[in-house]
Symmetry: C2
């Protein structure tokens, strides 16, 4: 949640790159303090991520190759919003594309601002239940495989440093706090 | 932790912008699958973030203005690494600059990859203890104020959506799991 009481005044934005997920550019702004500054900003369309519960104890995670991380990392299923797409729909779609599972029930647990120093990217977080197995259909550039493990083990893997992806930590924390069960 | 068994082959990198914190550009790579693709990448120097314990129960958080978030958000004290700076030193320095507190003891709890789809940014996470109050010295572009609240309340604020900054969620989770106390 953001307290919008304070606002920056946007003087100009110079776009240096535009892609299907967003754009990168330089915002010249006046801060609430009156200070004038230029900020590098990756404007992002947003994404959804989901903790899929196979049963009361076990969740489905991904081992996904990330160039930026220099190898494979642990992640929850996730992906960018299509243009105008509802975040819940995106969560269910990405779950099916990346793992093959169709969810009978998808519940919103919150959202995360990934790194607000240089992007407005917000990832909407969900838990998914009543999974029915199907056939994954990953995109060509996705290199991933699924693993099933107890939620308690996944939480311990955050503590040990094996899981260090930001959205995954936030999504697992909210799943463990039981936010989903209350809705 | 990253499993470096799989690697992408970098064909070329075209830098579109270079700033003091890193650079933005397009990497043309060959994925482990053999697929050739171009990836927008914000190469980042890295940062540190710290949960400062005022006593056994209470932590010091910031209300910080973020242009990318459109207002003020809750964060732990944090900041970018200076060139060649040790992450622990950075955590202690940012704590003092942003809150005024000098820490008698700073303990590493882990790290977070903020959003590995388009940046290699890693934020190193710490807990700080034995705080001695001093005078904050925020940078000119920083608009922030400190608030003291129980760690248990901060965790509840993640669940309620009041706290949604990624590094802050990860840092509070690790502080709550007691990773720091074991070292």
């Amino acid at each position: 949640m953001t307290d919008a009481g304070l606002r920056a005044k946007l003087i100009s934005r110079r776009v240096l790159w535009e892609g299907d997920v967003g754009s990168f550019g330089l915002d010249e702004i006046v801060l609430p303090s009156g200070e004038r500054t230029t900020l590098a900003l990756f404007k992002h369309r947003g994404a959804s991520a989901v903790v899929p519960f196979l049963d009361a104890e076990n969740v489905v995670l991904l081992r996904q190759f990330r160039h930026a991380a220099g190898g494979e990392i642990w992640e929850v299923p996730a992906g960018k919003l299509d243009l105008g797409e509802d975040p819940l729909h995106c969560a269910a779609r990405e779950l099916e594309e990346e793992t093959g599972y169709c969810a009978g029930r998808v519940v919103r647990t919150g959202s995360v601002l990934t790194t607000p120093g240089f992007t407005d990217e917000r990832i909407h977080l969900f838990c998914a239940y009543d999974l029915v197995p199907g056939r994954p259909a990953p995109e060509a550039h996705e290199v991933l495989r699924t693993e099933v493990l107890p939620l308690a083990r996944a939480l311990a893997m955050i503590e040990s440093g094996e899981i260090c992806d930001g959205k995954t930590i936030a999504a697992l924390f909210l799943a463990a706090r039981g936010g989903a069960r209350r809705e």
